[in-house]
């Protein structure tokens, strides 16, 4: 019976294109909005998640990175180092700055780390020399800077020593200076912003964080996972809500379009299903045919939608737009699953009328 479903779907080229294209566009809308959200949220906590620090120690009450001011006396570093379970400590200075380059400017996290940092340093070009800055590659692109160029940080010229990858998010770039440069320019010689802790083998980050909060006065300590979670929550509160609402609206519109397409597909064949019923097809047969047709439509539509979602960033970047899209399995499963349920239900809906149809109707000028 599968071939009847397939022929019904493909018999008319126009209808086939409208049908599969409609499903594809509906799903692409869902996938692209998801991918925008994922592209936005995914790297939000990247500087934390990729820091290599098991525990982030901050001024008491500071529980994330974005838009915070954390100041700890330098002496705290040694105290934290003495807490049982702590394997290494790395002092870090942090602020958010507008960086400028020949192509543009962008808000960026600026981290100051010692050359021998045990945590917090980016993979690749480390350490920067005195008067040098390491930029996240995404930030470098936006600013139009290459290795050897000059970037303005804290009102001074810094030479771009190299690039780190995968740390920027849509809100902020990321850059690294030597701790000493940072301290000198910001006149924060006797303070640090955070202490990055690595725990000893076999130690749990949560456990050590709790010990630090107990034993060290005036600090908060959070495991990397907890710190990253807080960071995401804060940033999501600031901007992602709008995207989430868009996303939900997109999902509803997409599903509605698809439901309409599938409903129409069955309805337009109502008379023929009526004939099959009169000839002796059971309702089960008929449901199988329309469900198979829904399955084919969703399968083809989803494939096309994925292709569209993957091609879109290329098109956008060719147009000079930078929109980070991240297609996730979760989103694919969500879109595919919901599409199947909605398409199946929508295409089976008219069958209820057909199943309830008086089969004698076909003898009265068809089931029309």
């Amino acid at each position: 019976m599968g071939y009847l479903a397939w022929r019904n779907l493909t018999q008319s080229k126009t209808r086939f294109l409208l049908s599969v294209g409609g499903v594809a566009l509906a799903l692409a809308l869902v996938l692209v909005l998801d991918a925008i959200l994922a592209g936005f949220e995914g790297p939000l906590a990247a500087p934390i998640e990729r820091s290599g620090a098991d525990v982030w120690v901050s001024q008491k009450g500071v529980r994330n990175l974005h838009m915070v001011l954390s100041t700890l006396p330098e002496g705290v570093v040694e105290v934290v180092a003495g807490v049982p379970g702590v394997a290494s400590v790395t002092p870090m200075l942090y602020t958010t700055q507008m960086l400028r380059g020949p192509r543009g400017s962008r808000s960026s996290y600026v981290f100051g780390l010692p050359a021998d940092a045990q945590a917090g340093k980016p993979a690749g070009a480390w350490p920067p020399g005195a008067g040098e800055v390491i930029l996240d590659s995404g930030l470098g692109q936006v600013l139009g800077l290459e290795a050897g160029d000059t970037a303005r940080v804290f009102g001074r010229n810094f030479r771009v020593a190299g690039f780190a990858t995968g740390l920027s998010n849509p809100l902020n770039g990321v850059s690294f200076l030597r701790l000493e440069d940072f301290a000198r320019l910001r006149r924060s010689r006797d303070t640090v912003s955070f202490v990055l802790v690595r725990v000893g083998p076999g130690r749990s980050a949560e456990e050590v964080a709790r010990r630090i909060e107990e034993e060290v006065e005036g600090v908060s300590a959070l495991s990397r996972a907890a710190f990253a979670r807080r960071e995401r929550a804060v940033v999501r509160d600031m901007g992602a809500d709008a995207i989430n609402i868009m996303n939900l609206a997109g999902l509803l519109i997409g599903l509605a379009v698809m439901a309409l397409v599938m409903y129409t597909a069955t309805l337009s064949r109502r008379a023929e299903y009526g004939v099959l019923k009169a000839l002796g097809a059971s309702s089960g047969h008929l449901y199988r045919v329309v469900l198979a047709q829904a399955l084919y439509s969703v399968g083809l539509g989803l494939g096309l939608a994925v292709a569209l979602t993957l091609v879109l960033p290329l098109v956008l970047s060719a147009l000079g737009l930078n929109l980070p899209l991240q297609l996730t399995w979760a989103s694919l499963l969500k879109a595919g699953g919901m599409a199947l349920v909605v398409a199946g239900a929508a295409s089976a809906l008219p069958m209820r009328q057909i199943a309830g149809l008086d089969p004698a109707r076909v003898y009265r000028g068809g089931a029309r």
């Binding site: 019976m1 071939y3 009847l4 023929e272 004939v275 009169a278 097809a281 089969p359 003898y363 068809g366």
Partner: protein, 284 residues
């Protein structure tokens, strides 16, 4: 050499009432009928006389209000609703006025799918469909879509579809109404051949008098009941069967002619010799 077997179809006292109360319509009233294997029965009657209602009940498409339908020893009127589709699939072949082929499927698949519904594998179903279509002279049209076939070809595909599950009884409602007289007659001869060669019973409902000559028996249904045919005549112009008492008539060369309407009568009187042959069909 047909031996006298038990009737394929035996109908007793069949009635159908649509609706209830004041608006109830008694479409069929206490009809009884027997059809033997290999017999072709033509049921004629004016529009609204209950022909389609009767045929639908015989084909297990419509439940009778009263009466008993027995097909090959199976009492249809006693079966549960859930069993009827399968009965239709295996015991009846349906032929419709407007062919009702599935527009997306080739001639071959239109026939094969009905065999598949009855549980045959795809390959076997296609092989059987192919053999049937070739037998009906459609060997060169197997892969044509319905829209690429002529009316007569479509009706032959529909007949192949009706035969594919080897039913005992073919039911056809106005099978020639959408065909020109040549193809209509060809279709009727085909049905006759099938009845005689394969011993199938064929029940045809029509108000087309031109097909009377292929039937073994012609019944006249009127107001839901079988009536005597004696008072009937054939309009020599349009071929419709008309009742003498109610029809417009004319005299020519000492004979009476009956017409469905004044238009036909005038056409006849403008040149009676053109229709002279039709008198042979007149029933006394």
């Amino acid at each position: 050499m047909r031996t006298e077997r038990a009737a394929t179809l035996r109908v007793q006292n069949l009635s159908k009432r649509y609706g209830s109360g004041e608006t109830a319509v008694q479409a069929v009233k206490g009809v009884s009928l027997e059809v033997s294997p290999g017999e072709i029965v033509l049921i004629m009657g004016p529009s609204g006389s209950g022909k389609t209602t009767l045929l639908s009940m015989l084909g297990a498409l419509l439940r009778p209000t009263e009466g008993r339908i027995e097909l090959d020893g199976l009492v249809l009127s006693e079966l549960s609703e859930g069993r009827l589709p399968d009965i239709r699939l295996r015991h009846f072949g349906f032929v419709f006025q407007d062919f009702n082929l599935l527009s997306a499927l080739s001639a071959l698949d239109n026939v094969a799918i009905v065999a598949e519904l009855a549980g045959l594998g795809r390959k076997a179903a296609r092989a059987r469909a192919r053999a049937l279509l070739e037998e009906l002279g459609l060997g060169a049209r197997l892969h044509f879509l319905p829209e690429q076939l002529s009316g007569g070809e479509k009706q032959r595909v529909a007949i192949a579809r009706a035969l594919v599950n080897e039913p005992a009884l073919l039911l056809a409602d106005e099978p020639t109404a959408n065909l020109d007289s040549h193809h209509g007659h060809e279709t009727m001869r085909l049905l006759r051949r099938i009845a005689k060669e394969q011993g199938k019973s064929v029940l045809i409902v029509s108000h087309d008098a031109r097909i009377q000559d292929i039937a073994d028996r012609v019944l006249w249904l009127e107001d839901g009941e079988f009536k005597e045919m004696r008072s009937l005549a054939t309009d020599p112009v349009c071929g419709m069967t008309v009742e003498r008492e109610k029809a417009v008539s004319a005299q020519w060369e000492g004979k009476s002619y009956y017409f469905c309407c004044r238009g036909c009568r005038e056409e006849f009187l403008a040149g009676p010799q053109r229709f002279g042959k039709a008198t042979a069909r007149e029933r006394e």
